[in-house]
Symmetry: C2
Subunit: 213 residues, 2 copies
């Protein structure tokens, strides 16, 4: 039947695309976030090749759901969830390698990625140009919270700044970030790390407080 053919088509395209994703997201030559970036670049040149006239089959079918059999809905959702899981795995690796803050909900950020990416593909088709893909990718990556581990590794902090905390209580250091350093750094530097971690927490807190009534 037509319905069975449609479902087979979704499965086939879903798997084809999952392999394409994995080719980038499991590329050992790149850091985890660079892998996601490489997928974005590849998808972008894919759209450019067809003059921004073709989008994604799963996205297109999702937009047509009003006119399609209900059985398509669960299959399309499952396909998106599969892609989301693959991106979330890449984000977990980004956490492990110190590119992404440990307290990020990777599944949620991966969902955010695909939500925005679908919008970007649609806008690129409408405008017939790459700007929406570039804008979405750039601000998606810019908004990701960095890891305090990575922040610490940044040379500018280590070499140029040297801070002493002159309050009576030294700010508490977060174990996940400072346990490994404790052996190699002295007390003032440790205090600096603690302060830095605290600043990051404050920054994150303020982002939320700014939008909540």
């Amino acid at each position: 039947s037509k319905e069975a053919f449609g479902l087979a088509l979704i499965d086939g395209y879903g798997e084809f695309f999952a392999r394409k994703l994995d080719r980038h997201l499991r590329n050992p030559a790149l850091s985890p976030l660079q892998r996601l970036h490489a997928f974005v670049q590849d998808a972008q040149s894919g759209m450019a090749r067809f003059a921004y006239r073709r989008g994604c089959l799963i996205g297109n079918l999702g937009q047509e759901m009003a006119a399609l059999p209900e059985s398509f809905r669960t299959r399309l959702i499952a396909t998106f969830e599969d892609w989301q899981r693959r991106v979330a795995e890449c984000l977990v690796e980004a956490q492990a390698s110190g590119q992404l803050a440990m307290d990020v909900d990777t599944q949620r950020v991966a969902a955010f990625f695909w939500i925005g990416w679908e919008g970007a593909v649609l806008h690129a088709k409408l405008e017939q140009g790459p700007a929406p893909l570039e804008t979405f990718a750039a601000l998606f990556f810019a908004g990701l919270p960095v890891s305090c581990g990575r922040a610490w590794a940044w040379p500018a902090i280590r070499s140029h700044e040297f801070i002493a905390v002159i309050t009576s209580e030294v700010p508490p250091t977060r174990p996940s970030c400072s346990r490994k350093r404790r052996r190699v750094v002295g007390a003032p530097v440790l205090a600096e790390v603690g302060f830095f971690v605290r600043i990051q927490k404050l920054l994150r807190g303020m982002r939320w407080s700014g939008v909540m009534p």
Copy 2:
């Protein structure tokens, strides 16, 4: 003709929606970012009212461009640009009121908002639930860079932390953030502000460095 009717429909809906947007984005009772948040809430309950079956006319037509007259394309793009300008104006007000960092490209962030919002509306229709709208809105707001002005105003910094910079050179303070404070605060606090601004700059820089090869 049908084409003229379609164009009139786009204009009519575009204006109707622009008024709806303005009702939230110019609401003097809320802070600028709260206004954008209120629009999101309103749109969300609008979708809930129709059980997540209806989307946005402009978005729907944009998705159908392959089957529509070319004259629709420029009109649809112009409508999106109009909405983008309205959100960008709200973001400029957020900068002025200290909710958003001054170096944010408001037009670009506004474009990012509509790109992601269209994807969120589509996913909500597919899933027939509010989760994609909530996920997109939450992570959009969480990713916005906060203003250093606002950071400074946050009581936790002012009362609990008191830092002295013991390097020979005091970190340069960014004029836009510190000019107003210079009169009311002493030298050590000023150094703290400078350090804080610098940390924010580093954080922003690192976000980018993490994803660029």
